[in-house]
Structures are given as structure tokens and as C-alpha cells.
């Protein structure tokens, strides 16, 4: 088994609290499926849409990221899976996909000198 990060993009804001709640219930359902198989490693965190971006040797701080909503990383979790294919398969249950978002599946890397 190895560990994989799921990076979510394309968070939606809903118009009504009822819709928000409904959507969140889908997240709970997905988490329960992962949890039942013992595959949830790090529950991660949602991320605020805007923040700061720091770049270059000059270490310039600007506001950002100002990309399209569907490109901004909305949050992450870490799961355990047999391999990359298995991890990708698991990510297909993510509710963000239902509202036009995407999941980037990246294996956690061990850094050896």
C-alpha cells in the first residue's frame, strides 16, 4: 500500500444553504466509504479561494492566485491505496466531480538523498 494526495479543484459556492448542506452530505458519504475501507490517512483541509503568492528570488508577495475557479486548488486529503490506478479509482467518488470540479491524484514522494 502507498499513500496518495488528492488535490481538489473547482469548488462551488451554492446559492442556498440547503444545497450547501446537501453537497456536504455527499462529502460525508464519500468519506464514510473511504473510512470503512480504512483508506483515509489524512483528513486534509479545505482551502480558502484566495491568499498570497510569493515568487522569485526577489520573494515578491502578491495577492492571488487569480486563476479561474476551476483551476484553483480547493483543498486536499491523503488516502492509502494499492497503487496509482486504485487511488484514481477511489477518487472517482469525490462529490466535487459532480459540480464540474476535478481531482488530481499524486503519489506521496519519499525524498531520499
Amino acid at each position: 500500500m502507498s499513500e496518495f494526495a488528492f488535490l481538489f479543484r473547482g469548488r462551488q459556492t451554492f446559492t442556498s444553504p440547503a444545497q450547501t448542506q446537501q453537497h456536504m452530505q455527499l462529502w460525508l458519504k464519500w468519506f464514510k466509504e473511504l473510512g470503512a475501507q480504512g483508506l483515509l490517512k489524512d483528513p486534509g483541509h479545505p482551502l480558502d479561494n484566495t491568499g498570497k503568492v510569493v515568487t522569485g528570488t526577489q520573494k515578491i508577495v502578491t495577492d492571488g492566485p487569480y486563476a479561474e475557479a476551476k483551476d484553483v486548488i480547493a483543498g486536499y486529503i491523503v488516502v492509502e491505496a494499492r497503487d496509482l490506478s486504485h487511488a484514481a479509482e477511489l477518487s472517482r467518488g469525490c462529490p466535487i466531480l459532480e459540480v464540474g470540479g476535478s481531482v488530481e491524484v499524486r503519489p506521496l514522494q519519499m525524498l531520499n538523498p
Partner: protein, 409 residues
């Protein structure tokens, strides 16, 4: 609410759950006087409690241990809010109430401790209210509640509803505790008041929760609910307008709650299933005889007497023997009743029960032995436990004096 919060936060975090409930009520006390009581106060309180719970869970995620199966969902921001929403939903609350009741009725705790902790946690009684409701005073109540809380915290989680066998094994304790709670309210030994109808109501409410679950809805549970309804129906007439105790023969029966009688009879019918006869069945049947009699004279005392016979063979006790003797007196006259009373096994256990002496007094009164009767009522009054009992017994003493006067040639 407290039961559900205890499940969300974990039974080790009972104090935390209590804080949340307290916060919600405090906030209500702050806000409602200015903005008015909301249309749905319960929903408002629930919503406020949920928000406090969310705050606490966020702040203290690392500090507290939660119930194992909930760990993931409470620790992740992705699922925290919907998890709390689900855990505090109406079905969950009802189930958690049941779980809490089952948890409270641990065999290691005494009957009094079980009731004390149920009143405190499930009915929201403060320590002094528990003390007032049960026998023993503030210190005793505090001790019982503390003991109960410790026992709860020591068990790692609330009682699980997934094992019907365990539920069934614990059910008699719950039934017993609820029966004691109801009895305490119907005719308690509290120093303040002989009738505490709110205790009866709480007992009935909690019994209804037990009945909602398929494993809890046994014939015995139905019988217990029946006897509570049938007895509670008579509550409005037990105390008259001035707060004085009225015995069965003197009550204004038009005050009896016929809806409760009907409900009780329905439950009694529902309990007449299977081969298991419990003491609750018999007591419910006795209550039915009483509550369906339009006038004291119409009561089927012979039927009641034979039911007491059955009860004695099932679960003998001096108090039941006393009630049986009273019923027999109704059928066969006071002399016979007195003979039965003096034949009660373990009579000495009734020495602190005022209505033992009062019953003897009553029977002597009916025989025309007014002086003897008065002596018995005096003894009863000397060990009466609250003003209502005292006044009632003093009234009987006066009746003895008056009757003695008028009977003198």
C-alpha cells in the same frame, strides 16, 4: 440533546456536552428577552448547540478523544459540519436517548443512582432538583450523580444498539428504573410534595422512547407504559384544589384524564401478547380496574384482590401484601382485612411507611373502633414525610374524633 451531544463528543466528554447544552440555554436567556422567544424554541436551541459543538470540535480536535467510529469525520473539516448535522438529527437523537438510558441503567449502579443519573442527564434535572425528587437529600443526590457519571465515563462508549441480546439483557434494569421514577412521582417520599407529576411525565416520555425501538417494544414494556398511563390518568384528582391529598374513595373522578385511560387500555391490550407475564402486566390490570370504575363502589375489588394474589406469587413484598389486604377488606369487610394485614410476612419492613398504619387505622375506623383508629393515624402522622401526608392523616384523626362523638349514645 445532551444524549446526542454525548455521542458526538464521546461519553468521556460528558462534561463538555453539558457545557454545550448550558451555553445554548444561557445564550437563549440572553437573546430571547430582547428578540422574543423564537417560533420553534427547540430548533433554535438545537441549532445554537450545534454551532457551539462545531466551535468546540474545531478548537479542541487534538485535545479530546472522540468515539472511535466518529474520529475521522469529526477531525476533518470536509465532513465536520455534515457529521454533526447527522449526529444531531431527530432519528439519531431518539436513538441516542435510548442508548443513554441503557447506559445509565448499569447493573453496577444502585437503583437510586440509576434514577438520579437518568433525571440529571436525560431530564435535565439539576442536583437540587434530583435531591428534591428522590429520598435522601442534597449530599446523597450529589453522590449518586457523581457515581453515575463516573460509571458512564468508565464505559468507553454509550451502550450499543447493535446487539439485540445485550439490549434485551439490559431492558429489565431500564424498566425497573422507569417504574421507580414513575412511582416516586405518583406517590413519593419527597419532603416537599407527595405528588410530583413532572416525574411521572418524564417516566412516561422515556418509556415511550423505549417502545419506539423494536427490541424495546416487548409485552412487558407495553404493560409498563399502560400502568403509567392508567395511573397518571388519576393524577389530576389525587390532590384537590387546595393541594391536599385525596384518597381513592374521595377523589373527584370527573377529573380523571379519560384520554390517558383510553391510551392505557390500548397499551394494555397491546401487552397481552406472548407467554411472558410480568409484574407490570398485573399492576397495569389492577390500575385498569381502578381507572375504569366510574364510582369507588363500582370497582371490581374481588378482581383486584385476585390480581394481587397473582402479584404476590410473582414478586412478593410487604407493600403488595398490604395493598392486597386492603382489597380483601373491600370484598370481605374490615375484620378480614385486618387479619390479612397481621399475616403479612416481613411486616416490620413497613414500619417506616405511614400508609401501613393509616391502612390499619382506616380498617379500625370502618369497624367503628374510633379510638384505636385514631391511635393508628397518629402513629402514621408521626412518620409522615411531607405536609400533604401530614394534613391528610390529621384529617383522618379529626374524622375519628368526630365519629366517636356522634356514635356515643
Amino acid at each position: 440533546m445532551l444524549a446526542a451531544l454525548t455521542r458526538v463528543l464521546g461519553v468521556q466528554n460528558l462534561a463538555l456536552a453539558e457545557d454545550v447544552v448550558q451555553e445554548a440555554f444561557c445564550r437563549a436567556m440572553e437573546v430571547w428577552p430582547y428578540r422574543g422567544v423564537p417560533e420553534n424554541p427547540q430548533a433554535w436551541l438545537m441549532s445554537t448547540a450545534k454551532n457551539y459543538a462545531l466551535d468546540i470540535l474545531r478548537r479542541e480536535r487534538t485535545a479530546h478523544k472522540f468515539a472511535p467510529e466518529l474520529e475521522h469525520y469529526l477531525r476533518s473539516e470536509w465532513t465536520l459540519a455534515p457529521a454533526v448535522e447527522e449526529l444531531l438529527g431527530p432519528d439519531a437523537i431518539r436513538d441516542d436517548l435510548l442508548r443513554m438510558m441503557l447506559s445509565c441503567c448499569q447493573p453496577e449502579l444502585s437503583g437510586e443512582s440509576q434514577i438520579a443519573i437518568m433525571l440529571h442527564i436525560l431530564c435535565g434535572f439539576g442536583v437540587d432538583e434530583v435531591a428534591a425528587a428522590l429520598v435522601g437529600g442534597y449530599a446523597a443526590a450529589e453522590k449518586r450523580i457523581t457515581r453515575g457519571k463516573k460509571a458512564l465515563a468508565a464505559s468507553n462508549e454509550l451502550f450499543s444498539l447493535t446487539s439485540p441480546a445485550e439490549f434485551t439483557a439490559r431492558l429489565p434494569s431500564v424498566q425497573r428504573a422507569l417504574y421507580l421514577l414513575f412511582s416516586e412521582g405518583y406517590h413519593g417520599a419527597s419532603k416537599q410534595s407527595v405528588v410530583r407529576s413532572e416525574l411521572c411525565r418524564e417516566a412516561m416520555r422515556l418509556t415511550a422512547v423505549v417502545l419506539q425501538h423494536p427490541v424495546g417494544a416487548t409485552p412487558a414494556s407495553h404493560a409498563l407504559a399502560a400502568l403509567m398511563c392508567l395511573n397518571a390518568a388519576r393524577l389530576p384528582a389525587r390532590l384537590d384544589a387546595t393541594g391536599e391529598l385525596r384518597n381513592l374513595f374521595d377523589q373527584d373522578r370527573s377529573l380523571w384524564d379519560q384520554n390517558l385511560v383510553a391510551e392505557g387500555l390500548q397499551l394494555l391490550a397491546a401487552s397481552a401478547v406472548g407467554s411472558e407475564l410480568s409484574e407490570y402486566h398485573i399492576e397495569a390490570a389492577i390500575a385498569a380496574f381502578h381507572s375504569t370504575a366510574g364510582v369507588a363502589g363500582e370497582t371490581d375489588w374481588a378482581g383486584i384482590a385476585s390480581l394481587y394474589d397473582a402479584l404476590m406469587s410473582l414478586q412478593p413484598s410487604p407493600i403488595i401484601a398490604l395493598n392486597r389486604a386492603i382489597a380483601i377488606a373491600q370484598v370481605e369487610g374490615p375484620a378480614r382485612g385486618l387479619a390479612e394485614v397481621s399475616a403479612i410476612a416481613d411486616r416490620e419492613r413497613l414500619a417506616t411507611y405511614p400508609f401501613y398504619y393509616a391502612a390499619i387505622g382506616e380498617l379500625e375506623f370502618r369497624r367503628g373502633h374510633y379510638t384505636a383508629a385514631r391511635g393508628h393515624f397518629e402513629k402514621a402522622e408521626s412518620i409522615a414525610r411531607n405536609p400533604s401526608e401530614r394534613n391528610f392523616l390529621q384529617g383522618r384523626m379529626r374524622a375519628c374524633i368526630d365519629s366517636a362523638k356522634t356514635s356515643r349514645p
